[in-house]
Symmetry: C2
Subunit: 210 residues, 2 copies
């Protein structure tokens, strides 16, 4: 088994934190997206989509989507449980995980990929045709991401963890999201004290440095 990874990118980090929480070690191969290594022939031979992370199983099977990779390991090794145990918890974890993605991660990614010179013609991820940046979308992403921080501030005021009373994959997505937000100049500090306190607590978990 082999994990094609990029230390700095948010989606691969979700998988690394997930694996650390499970106590599972997988050999990793670093792919530098900013240098375009994900679009080089060597990597496209592994994953024609040119995205990371990619998990390669021993028989050559490829899984190339971060949450799908997490679910694979959850099914292989159910404990510690990170996707919920009973119908209602499973639904709540899924709802929060997706909400953090759609309102947080995707808007931050829109702000980032539509503004950084390194992604000038690669505003959409992966190996598709050139996608020019849309400055208005970078602005919208930033504005909606700020609204996301406000929403998360309210949520963490009513719940110790994102999806309820214990740590789940929804927290993993949120940790990565808060760290990624700094790349576009958004910090959860004075204006979002509850998010900042939760983030400090999360950083104390050994998995957060994965």
């Amino acid at each position: 088994m082999k994990l094609y990874d990029m230390a700095l990118a948010p989606n691969p980090r979700r998988v690394r934190i997930f694996l650390a929480e499970k106590g599972i070690a997988v050999p990793r191969v670093e792919i530098d997206i900013q240098k375009g290594e994900n679009l080089a022939p060597a990597y496209l031979a592994v994953n024609p989509r040119g995205v990371v992370p990619t998990l390669e199983l021993d028989d050559g099977t490829i899984l190339d989507e971060s949450i799908a990779i997490c679910r694979y390991f959850e099914a292989l090794q159910p404990e510690p449980n990170l996707f919920g145990r009973d119908p209602l918890e499973i639904a709540r974890v899924e709802a929060w995980q997706r909400r953090i993605e759609f309102e947080g991660l995707f808007n931050i990614a829109a702000a980032f990929r539509n503004s950084r010179p390194a992604f000038a013609d690669r505003a959409a991820p992966g190996a598709g045709p050139p996608t020019p940046q849309i400055p208005a979308l970078a602005e919208r992403g930033l504005r909606l991401a700020l609204g996301f921080l406000d929403m998360l501030e309210r949520r963490l005021g009513e719940s110790p963890f994102v999806a309820g009373d214990r740590y789940t994959v929804a927290d993993i997505t949120a940790i990565v999201c808060i760290d990624f937000a700094r790349w576009v100049g958004l910090k959860a500090e004075e204006a979002h004290p509850t998010v900042a306190a939760w983030h400090q607590a999360m950083k104390k978990r050994p998995s957060s440095s994965a």
Copy 2:
């Protein structure tokens, strides 16, 4: 139990098809987004986010995310299985379901919400602050959605169903996606014969009229 629904919208339809495949009946309440009923006080009292679908349980618990609602019912009533059985199938269904969403549904939604007069200041879903449309994003969405149809054409040339050899939630997302694509003028016909044939087969399932 009660499902706040909108007959024409893609996300609520995913839940209705899912429930039909499971053989589960849930009373529904129609909310018309185009008329703004999702932003009226009566509905915001149920769901402050102002999105559909929303599942209200008998104790008042709210689940307001389509795939989370599907997972709730999958956990309550596991058969017929729609999210995968073993680790690899679970991962493949998740990877395809998400890929159809991210490359298909989201791009079609971007094309739709950033161009239709009815969504002039509501380019982002739900009850947040006004979000002006971005015409360049509508164009990008349309272009990427066409690339998605090409990708799905290749995929369905190698696999009878989206995620493998049987019907899963990934097909449900894809059915909704192909029907939604017509709203922005994209049709899977001559140029995508494999998608068109799969779509015809899917339409014969009683669930597809849900």
